[in-house]
Point group: C2
Chain length 422, copies 2
Amino acid sequence: MTTELSAGALTWLLERARQDYQDLAERELSLDLTRGKPSPEQLDLSDDLLSLPGGRHTAADGTDVRNYGGLQGLPELREIFAGVLQVPVAQLLAAGNSSLELMHDCLVHALLSVLPGAESRWVDQERIAFLCPVPGYDRHFALCERFGIDMIQVPMTADGPDLDVVERLVAEDPAIKGIWCVPKYSNPGGVSYSDETVARLASMSTAAPDFRIFWDNAYAAHHLTDEPVEIADLLAACAEAGNADRVFVFGSTSKITVAGAGVAFFGSSPANVQWLLRNNSKRSIGPDKINQLRHVIFLRDADGMRAHMERQRALLQPKFDAVARILETELGGTGLATWASPKGGYFVALQVQDGCAKEVVRRAKEAGIALTPAGATHPYGDDPRDAFIRIAPSYPGLEELERAIEGLTVCVRLVGYEKQAS
Amino acid sequence: MTTELSAGALTWLLERARQDYQDLAERELSLDLTRGKPSPEQLDLSDDLLSLPGGRHTAADGTDVRNYGGLQGLPELREIFAGVLQVPVAQLLAAGNSSLELMHDCLVHALLSVLPGAESRWVDQERIAFLCPVPGYDRHFALCERFGIDMIQVPMTADGPDLDVVERLVAEDPAIKGIWCVPKYSNPGGVSYSDETVARLASMSTAAPDFRIFWDNAYAAHHLTDEPVEIADLLAACAEAGNADRVFVFGSTSKITVAGAGVAFFGSSPANVQWLLRNNSKRSIGPDKINQLRHVIFLRDADGMRAHMERQRALLQPKFDAVARILETELGGTGLATWASPKGGYFVALQVQDGCAKEVVRRAKEAGIALTPAGATHPYGDDPRDAFIRIAPSYPGLEELERAIEGLTVCVRLVGYEKQAS
C-alpha cells in the first residue's frame, strides 16, 4: 500500500495526523481500554444475586450448602453449564470464583503429581514446553513464565492455530506437554476454531503421552450477533479418537454474572476429573456452595442463562459496533491497519504496520488513552513483529469508548505515516 | 493402675463391659463424631449472610466489589480480624473460603518459587522435612504427604510442642523447613501455647535460612469459657528476634460464620506478603469481594465478631460439658483413659491405653458410632502408641452426642479390660 502514496500525499497525511494528535493531546483525556472488565451496567444485570439465596440453604439433594463438603460442586449448577461447555454433568466440576485459578492449579498438580498417562511429574522432567497460538491471552503466558515452562509460538489462522505447525511440533518433541486454546471468540483475535481444527487437535499424534489441551472456553456463551457460533465438541472428539484424557475444559461465569464473585468450571475425562478431585481434596474441604446455589436460583436453567446473555449482548454490541465503525471510518483504505469484527467475546485485535504497535500504545498513553501494553498478546510480552494491539471495549461508557477509539486511530495514523516518511 | 485390680474385679468389670457393649450394639445407633463440622444451629446464627450484601456493592473506598481486582482483600474486613489474628491490617490478606487452601498454596509456592531467605526452590532440594507436633491435625499431615515432605513427630506438652526437641532438631538439620502449629485450643488436644513456647519459637536458631512456622490459628476466637485464652504475638516476636519472615499466620471464618462459604486469612511479614501476592497475582484476578463485603456488613467490627462468638459458645459449651461429664462418670478413676477439658476449639483428645485406640474405634463403628480413624492424629495415619482418639462434639445434637459418648465409653471399657485380661 505504501508504495501507492506519492511523496506529497504522504506529507499532507502526516501533517494532518500531527495536527490531529496535537488536538487530541490538548483534550487531556483519561480513558482506559486495558482490560476486559464488564461495565457497571453489565454487573447491574446480576444485582439480584446480591440478596440471594435469601431464606434458602439447601441444594436439590438436601445438602446444607452452608457446611463443608461437596468437592465437585452442586450438580444443579453443573447441569446449567454442561451444554454450553460441552461437558457431561458427571465430568464437570464447579469450583471457586476464577477459571484462571483452575488452570494454575492444573499446571501445579501436573508439575507436582503424576498426570494420567504421564511417565513422571513434570517438575522431574528436564524441559517442559507449551504451544502458544499468537496473538493470545497474556495471563496464559504469565502462568507458563511463572513455572519456567518454555513457550513456542504458533500462528493463528482464521480457523484457529495453524494445525500444520502444531501437528509437526507435537509429533516431534516429547517436551511439548500442552497448548493454550481459547476456542470460541478467541482473546484477542475473536477467532472461533473450525470443525477441522477441533478434529485434528483431537486425533493428532503427540510425542508426549501426557499432552494436554488447555481449552479455555471463556466466551462460550458470549455472542454478539444473531448467529451464535457453535464449535465442535473437543472432549467427545478426543474420546472418539482414543485420546480421552487429552483435554482440560475451563469456563466461568465471570463475564456472565459478576467478574469477581462468579463460579468457575473444569471439565475433562473421568480419569482427569478424578485426578483433579484427588489433588483438590488435599487442598480444600469444598467450594463455596452458597454462591453456587445463588447462581442456580438466579440463572434457573440453560435457557435462563442464554436469556441473561442476550441482555449482556444488548449492552456490549453497540460498543463493538462503534469500534468497528470508527476503525472503518478513520483507518479503512489507509493500509495502516487491519482488524477483525468478532462475532462474540470481549476483544478486538488491531493489527498495525510491523514495528508500530509499541509506538502507537506509547503515543496513546501520552494522550491519556491507556491500552493493554503492546506485546501482551505474545509470550514474554514480546511480539516479534510489534504489530498487535488488543482493544477491550467492554468497560467504558459508549461515548468514552468512541473518544478513545477515535484517539487511537489518530495515533495509528501518526505513527504509521511517520514510519513511512522516515 | 492395672496392677491394683484383682483378678476377680477384672473379670467382673470385663463381664459388665461385654454386657454393656451387647446392649449398645442392640440399639443399632447411627451416630457420627468424625469431623469438626458446625451444627445446623450454629450455621443458623449467620443466616443473615444469605441475603447480604443486599442493595450494596461498594467497599468503603468506593471499589465496586462485583468486578475484578483487589488481590489483598477488603481492608475493612482485614480490620475486623487483624486484632484476633495478631497481624497488622497492612500485612493481612483476605482470600477465598478456605485457610487450608492458603496453606496448600504456600507450600506450592515455596516448592516452585524461591521463598524470601531461601537459597533455592524447595522442589530443587534433595529432602524437605516438617516438624509435626502430635497429636495434630490430619489435614496438615496430608499436605506434607501429598508433596513428599518428610514428617518428623514432636511430642506435645501442656505448653505446646516440646521446644527442647524442636530447638535441637531445627538447629541441626537444614532440610527441616517448617513446623505445623495450631497455637490456641489445638486440634485435637485443646492445648494453648505458653508465652515461653512462643518466645522460643521466635528466637530459636534454625539451620534452614527459609524455615517457616505454619501458624494455623484456626480457633483464635473460639472460646468455651469465661476466661478467653490469649497467646503471645508470634509475628511481632519473630520480628523482634530478627526473624521477621519466619511465620505464616492462617485463620478463617469457617467456624465463625459458615463452614463452606466463609473467608480465609493469611498474615506475615511484608516480604512474605509480597511474595504471596506476587505468586497469587499469576493465579487469580482477585478474591470474592462480594462475600468479603457480606461478612463486613454482618459482623460489623471486632466487637460484633466477639458477640457472635458468644452465641456460638452458647451452642457449643453444653456439648463439651456433656463430653467431660460423661467421660468423668464412666471412665473417671478406671485408669483406662485420660482426656483434657479444652477451654476452646472444636475437639477433645481422648487418650486410651497404648495399643487400644484402633480397637476402640473399630468396636464403636460396629456399634454404629463413627469416629475419626485412630491414627489420624499422627503423620501417615500411624500413631505409634495407638492411643489417641479425636472426639468432635460440635455437629450432633446434644442428646445424640450424649448417646455417642456413652457408647464410646463402653467401647473403651470393653477394649481396655479385654487387654488387661489377655
